[in-house]
């Protein structure tokens, strides 16, 4: 059971190495690896011959933590997984815990608040993804535009739960605090504000010729490869597969809302290229906005958390597996409870972990600049890759 512990590709002896090949260490500290992610690239000039990904620099034993702190405290740690979509993480973990109870009803108002928060968070997360993607390609200004709009969402979240990034807001049984009319008004304001602003991203990036040439036909991810690697979320939909858990396996109250699922069309290049993945995110923001508008319009009065879950959380013995469609793909939690107030085992199925694992397959033969474009288009968050 002693597996070999060599983790770096052996450098070829310098005597018989072809002179133009070079091993290039991209990361763990590099502006475009979106966190501490390391790729060892074998290059021939600017061409990437081969690459090997190394993850784990941000490993902090999330799953082990969950085995030593209570269920409610574990929600806090889920914030730090995909720290750009904390609402979705909270939601997934809370639903996994809730499913351990045989007959638990979540109040309607709480479900609506959850959906509003999750979708607003998806917009915020996609805004960051688009902005940083522009920056990877070399356009710095769209990043600031995206941050300007993302700030508005973060301010709404701050007024809802007092936090701007790690919300710890959605909890088993409901949400932590109720929202009031001023917050609903702010959300409505944002919906009116954001729709025309979304055009700016198209003007600056989507229709920019240089941007199109840098992303179209680059990093093409064929559908079968994506399926084999378990890629989900916008990266999968960019390859043309219309799969979204919000529609295919509706959780919470997503089956009540009307929205489209944008998929890649290969409009500027090949189906499944970086441009398609980028475009899916741009279009998804508008769809999320539709959901928010509908949910805000029909939010009912009532309690914001379940009365059944008073006191210390002590789910009955059992196992549950729940997935939600997070902004980067399907986030799943496998929770095993043995009847105590501490989980026996929590396993996190992180979308970025799957999405980044195929990097070396789709980056062969591209240029170093494309490597950056591909990593950016997969939109990973190392927090959930390394957990």
């Amino acid at each position: 059971m002693n597996a070999p512990h060599t983790n770096t590709p052996a450098a070829a002896p310098s005597s018989d190495v072809r002179s133009e090949e070079m091993l290039l260490n991209m990361g763990p500290q590099h502006p475009s690896t979106h966190g501490v992610f390391r790729v060892v690239i074998r290059t021939d000039g600017e061409i990437v011959l081969d690459s090997e990904s190394h993850v784990g620099y941000l490993h902090r034993c999330f799953e082990k933590h969950c085995e030593s702190v209570s269920f409610l405290q574990s929600v806090l740690y889920t914030d730090r997984l995909d720290y750009l979509t904390s609402m979705g993480n909270n939601l997934a973990f809370s639903m996994a815990v809730e499913r351990l109870y045989p007959d638990l009803k979540i109040p309607e108002r709480a479900e609506h608040i959850r959906v509003i928060c999750a979708e607003l968070n998806r917009i915020a997360s996609h805004l960051l993804a688009i902005g940083t993607y522009g920056m990877d390609i070399g356009a710095i200004t769209p990043f600031l535009y995206c941050f300007r709009d993302r700030e508005k969402i973060l301010s709404i979240f701050e007024s809802i739960c007092g936090q701007r990034l790690n919300y710890n807001y959605v909890r088993p049984g409901g949400v932590a605090y109720d929202i009031d009319d001023s917050m609903i008004a702010a959300i409505k304001d944002f919906c009116g504000y954001f729709r025309p602003k979304a055009q700016e991203y198209d003007d600056l990036l989507s229709n920019n010729d240089i941007f199109v040439r840098r992303t179209a036909n680059v990093g093409v991810l064929p559908k079968d490869l994506a399926i084999s690697y378990g890629v989900t979320g916008p990266s999968l939909r960019g390859s043309g597969l219309k799969r979204d858990l919000r529609r295919d396996a509706p959780y919470s109250i997503y089956d009540r809302f009307k929205f489209d699922i944008p998929v890649g069309t290969g409009e500027k290049g090949t189906l499944g290229d970086c441009y398609d993945r980028y475009m899916v995110r741009v279009r998804e923001m508008i769809e999320s906005l539709k959901i928010v508008e509908q949910a805000v319009a029909q939010i009912p009065d009532g309690p914001f958390k379940s009365e059944q879950l008073k006191g210390k959380l002590r789910p009955p013995k059992g196992e549950s597996f729940v997935r939600v469609e997070n902004s980067r793909g399907e986030l799943g939690f496998y929770v095993i409870s043995d009847g105590k107030d501490v989980a026996a085992r929590v396993k996190c199925r992180a979308p970025s972990f799957h999405n980044i694992s195929l990097l070396s397959d789709i980056s062969k033969g591209c240029m170093i600049a494309d490597m950056v474009a591909i990593i950016g288009s997969l939109d990973i968050v190392m927090g959930e890759v390394d957990r």
């Binding site: 070079m22 502006p31 475009s32 600017e46 920019n208 240089i210 941007f211 840098r214 600049a369 950056v372």
Partner: protein, 406 residues
């Protein structure tokens, strides 16, 4: 019109009193030019910050001085005080030498850039050729920096810089030759003086091909300055910071200053070659100002303003456009700019053969058949391009497409 003198004359002079001339040249030109370069650097960096900030819905520096005008000075002081870090495995001599080489390569360009009528260090008879020759010196400094850092990312940056600068010298040279063929001289002052009079005398409006030459020159100049979308040698999202990744403190500041000084040089050259140099383009106004000190001051103001406007366009482009890829950069140079540059050279000479410009009419003039024809052709091409652009935008935007179909 002053006669440009040869470099030999300028270097050797009349043989007597050379030491006095040498010291005099230092006092009269070297010190003010260095000061001017520093001023251009400070002003451009401040402009870049403010322009980028306003493009990005920000304010930019606001605290140090009015509207942050002294921020760059403060940063300069900070950079001076910073530790001078040389990586352990770097080639220390080259590492120290590289920024100086880059800066020197830039600053020698100022020798033939006029700052106004009579305000030129050396009006060489091969001024334009001199510019083309020294333009590549900065690249040597950049290459040395990338190599000496002993860092693979820096090396990539310097190799990219070498590729880019050497390649874009060719279309730039073609644009130079187009103008030189029209002007019949390589002297910068001589070229400016041919554009005296009304705005129609500017080389930009001389014939339709000079428009193309201007565009080619400006794109090539962006590449020579390594400005976005040609900032591949620095490319902070790909190469960390490219050739100056390992540089810090004052050595970095010198690279920085060299970049901004070069931006000014290429813009000033564009103003000289295409935009009438120190002439306002309004013949009576130029005549009213006349020569002498007033002409010198106004002329200096005009040419510096034109140059800074072009510098601002560079900044505008940088904060709007993404970066192109290495192969696209080479494609643009070899398959777009070079054929168009050759076409421009041939077309411009053929046009002048059939529709020769009149001799320079100092007090106006220039509104000839050539001008009219140039205007017609440029307007026609512009209209076609505009229509094509609007159509492509409509095609690319689903909502507009639907509206135009219904």
């Amino acid at each position: 019109m002053t006669t440009p003198y040869t470099l030999v004359d300028w270097v050797l002079g009349d043989g007597a009193g050379w030491l006095a001339r040498f010291i005099g040249a230092i006092l009269v030109w070297a010190v003010p030019i260095t000061g001017f370069v520093s001023f251009v650097g400070l002003l451009s960096i401040w402009l870049e910050r403010k322009i980028s900030a306003h493009i990005q819905c920000r304010l930019g520096p606001m605290e140090v001085g009015p509207h942050g005008a002294l921020q760059t000075v403060a940063d300069g002081v900070k950079l001076l005080a910073k530790e001078d870090i040389i990586p352990a495995d770097a080639d220390r001599i080259l590492f120290a030498f590289a920024p100086m080489l880059a800066f020197a390569g830039t600053i020698v360009g100022f020798a033939v850039v006029p700052f106004g009528p009579g305000l030129i260090v050396a009006d060489l008879d091969i001024g334009l050729f001199y510019l083309a020759a020294v333009g590549s010196l900065e690249a040597i400094g950049v290459i040395a920096a990338g190599w000496a850092s002993n860092n693979k990312w820096s090396l990539f940056g310097s190799v990219r810089a070498a590729t880019q600068v050497v390649s874009y010298e060719i279309p730039m040279g073609l644009a130079f030759v187009t103008i030189a063929a029209l002007a019949g001289t390589l002297s910068m002052v001589g070229i400016v003086e041919q554009q005296q009079g009304w705005i129609a005398n500017w080389f930009l409006f001389r014939n339709p091909f000079t428009w193309v030459a201007f565009i080619i020159y400006y794109i090539a100049a962006l590449a020579e300055c390594k400005r976005a979308p040609f900032d591949l040698p620095e490319a902070e999202s790909e190469l960390v910071s490219g050739f100056h990744t390992e540089y810090s403190g004052m050595r970095f500041a010198i690279f920085f200053l060299a970049e901004y000084a070069q931006m000014y040089v290429v813009s000033a050259v564009a103003a000289v070659l295409f935009l009438g140099g120190w002439y306002t383009g309004i013949a009576p106004l130029d005549a009213a100002i006349g020569g002498g000190t007033a002409g010198m001051v106004v002329g200096a103001g005009v040419i510096v303003t034109k140059s800074f406007l072009l510098v601002c366009v560079q900044m505008w482009l940088r904060w709007t456009l993404p970066r192109i890829r290495l192969d696209q950069m080479m494609y643009l140079c070899l398959k777009v700019l070079m054929p168009f540059g050759m076409l421009t050279l041939v077309g411009s000479t053929v046009w002048e053969h059939f529709l020769p410009s009149p001799a320079i009419v100092k007090d106006g003039g220039g509104w000839t058949g050539n001008t009219v024809m140039t205007g017609v052709v440029v307007a026609a091409i512009g209209t076609v391009a505009l229509v094509a652009y609007v159509r492509s935008v409509i095609r690319a935007t689903p909502s507009l497409r639907a509206a135009s179909n219904s």
